[in-house]
Symmetry: C2
Subunit: 446 residues, 2 copies
């Protein structure tokens, strides 16, 4: 199971790994206690920030200093949203038990959630985390197809269990992966094996899936599923050619596989559409959801068709102790209601467009910005040393999160070599918040 790190993934790993570097940090005693009892767990920043309070798009440290949150995609409807907290507390006071007893909330929640999905994605299976959702999706895909293989992107991240970490290729080399996992090159239109200005770029990238299917066949695995997230978060927030997913879905289905949309990050409004896959006019066979579903409460789901759900249930028992309990259901419904009532999908689209325009304006004055891309309130800027060679500006990028934290902005990196600044704030982010971020970026970027 040992993995050799190609590159420390900045979007997933710590700003750094050597804990001796914390020696100059403000909260050194807390850090030492933490290292002793939490082990070498991931901690952001060279001088890690201690947060004590959150409200809307703002986080506050122990000295009362405010930070504009441009990083966190879990508290989508705003940190400590009072409607969510009320739903949580009210139901926790009333009843919290598993779903083997009848309860109205989980049924109502499933109706509401599937009502927001394309036709026939009618069955919800509730779990607690994105990992559990992707695990269940793969169990379903394998049971229903009778195949074992998975096609994922290079440098993907889908979760932390054994199978799903094998399918998370960000920290593995192709030759160390198990036979059932094949990664294809993500459809990068800025850099990659194909020329960006070719009109058939979507087709060229999609054709890589033909090779993956053939290779899984050759290995005796066959294609159970294609799993991909529509914003390509770990790859640095790509915008795929519009026909990419349509072409890939056709190929995967022709090979007898299922198409799984990992909507843990893009789902629930992030991209300016309710679902990330809507940006590409496809309908998946299985949708997995997580992170923002409970605004921080651990709730996640697999949504699929009655036919697929039934085929799985015919030969598999699945039960999740906490999944879909009354508290999770009430919290999940509150989040859906807020997204609709407060028009947060529309806000992701309009504020996202405003932010994008600002980032493009910055790019015209800061040559270190090689590319601006993204959907809705997921925007990414790729930093390069040279516009022709596109050499990644890795060391500049790696200093940015620390530097921006000093300016009161929390932000993170993404991409294979960590030269992409990703902007992924709560969906209640306003145009004024975007302007604050843009002003700091303008001041800090070389």
């Amino acid at each position: 199971m040992k993995k050799s790190f190609v590159e420390r993934p900045p979007s997933l790993g710590a700003t750094h790994t050597d804990h001796s570097e914390y020696q100059k940090a403000k909260n050194i005693e807390l850090i030492k206690d933490r290292q002793r009892h939490l082990g070498n767990s991931i901690l952001f920043y060279h001088d890690p920030v201690q947060l004590v309070r959150g409200e809307g798009v703002w986080l506050f440290d122990e000295s009362g200093r405010a930070y504009l949150d441009c990083y966190n995609n879990v508290p989508s409807v705003g940190h400590c949203n009072p409607r969510v907290v009320k739903a949580l507390a009210d139901q926790a006071r009333q009843l919290n038990t598993h779903t083997r007893y009848l309860h109205k909330s989980v049924v109502e929640y499933a109706k509401k959630l599937s009502g927001l999905m394309p036709r026939n994605l009618d069955v919800c299976m509730f779990v607690c985390t994105g990992t559990e959702a992707n695990e269940l999706a793969m169990r379903i895909a394998r049971a229903v197809t009778g195949h074992k293989g998975a096609i994922v992107m290079e440098y993907s991240y889908h979760g932390n269990s054994t199978l799903i970490s094998e399918m998370s290729t960000f920290d593995s080399c192709p030759n160390t992966r198990p036979a059932h996992v094949i990664a294809v090159e993500p459809p990068n239109t800025y850099r990659g094996p194909f020329r960006a200005n070719e009109s058939s770029l979507g087709e060229k990238y999609a054709n890589l899936v033909d090779d993956a299917i053939a290779e899984l066949d050759a290995r005796g695995q066959k294609t159970a599923a294609f799993m991909c997230d529509a914003i390509f978060d770990s790859q640095g927030g790509l915008e795929a050619p519009h026909d990419y997913f349509q072409l890939v879905y056709e190929k995967v289905r022709a090979a007898g596989g299922l198409c799984i949309a990992d909507e843990v990050q893009p789902g629930l409004g992030r991209t300016g559409n309710m679902w990330g896959f809507q940006n590409y006019d496809v309908v998946p066979d299985i949708v997995t959801l997580g992170k923002p579903m409970g605004n921080g409460h651990p709730v996640a789901a697999v949504v699929t068709t009655p036919e697929i759900a039934e085929s799985f249930a015919a030969s598999n028992i699945y039960f999740n102790t906490f999944g879909g309990n009354p508290v999770s259901a009430e919290v999940g419904m509150a989040v859906l209601d807020i997204i609709v009532d407060d028009a947060l999908v529309e806000n992701a689209k309009s504020t996202g467009a405003h932010l994008r325009k600002g980032l493009e304006e910055l790019a015209s004055r800061h040559p270190i910005i090689g590319n601006v891309r993204g959907l809705g309130l997921y925007q990414a800027i790729e930093l390069v040393l040279d516009h022709d060679t596109k050499e990644p500006a890795v060391s500049v990028a790696r200093q940015l999160p620390d530097a921006m934290k000093e300016e009161g902005i929390l932000i993170g990196l993404a991409g294979r070599v960590g030269n992409v600044l990703k902007i992924r704030p709560p969906l209640v982010f306003s145009k004024e918040n975007a302007n604050q971020l843009l002003a700091v970026l303008d001041r800090i970027l070389p």
Copy 2:
């Protein structure tokens, strides 16, 4: 991935599987909606109970009828315990974010939790569910040992992910299991391959692990871990011979494997000791926790030694978005505090002993009871048609949960053929509650 069911597991599956049987049920419209949007998910009872409120050991249906909860091990400190609800609501109002920022609560919680563990089990890795805990434990065991194989019990249940469901042997036959999983016969002192009155029973059962280790070696897998829960929940609540775990741990460690105690069910007081493994005077290398940790809030953990944690972290990045967030940490601490302040471990011991005495008294008058066993507030009675042949009284047992529900008692079955009634109430169960249960059992049992 298709599994062939040896036997529908009564402890894990529904009372029945044919949804057409619900036709006469009271809440038929809700059941139909549920089937449409939750799929064929597990639902207890032929006339499923709709619960709307919980308090202490009591659950209430929509008509206001009270049920004594003798089944649920998650709400350990009582349904809707006000101290837990307050901790949950107060922290959710304040801040809820991941652990890549510094926060005092998770460090304090880890200190408190590891403070209750044997020496050197000092590092806590927080996750959301027992499945995630067992997944992480296996990832750690494989990474640290360099081996792949797992030794588990026959008819085990450890969780619902791909790897952990492969290690959950309750619904698979030996010849359909992957090469890395070997199940041994659980140390049943009532029935099984060895004679119950032999003094060397612990040794005989433990020796089966020698064969498992040899078989994993022969398959080129080698032993990464032995995983077992100390109450043998799915096997029908066994009491192992006292030397069993000591002997097995020695063998597993000699083979280079790690000993994982799945304390998701026995942990946190259930057995009358804080940890199930304490009943057998062993110290595991890795402890996994779940269910009662948050009294229903999805929090779980892996606890291990600094050496093992460090060895894993050297080659693996692990991060869990919701695991150990401030809300989970505050809820988890509230549960620990209540267990200590309200002396619930002691209550599990004393009320468990009272219940046990009553069950033994029932056994003396109801010949259908073949065996009474269990630890603390996990007690099991095995129903048989004949004390000599020990033929399981399957059909009587299967009618009991429905019949007892009609008498206002919620209870479940366990064991390979479902002839074991398991009594596993919240730890706030009183002697009076035990007497209520005993009176109903006396009335209902043939």
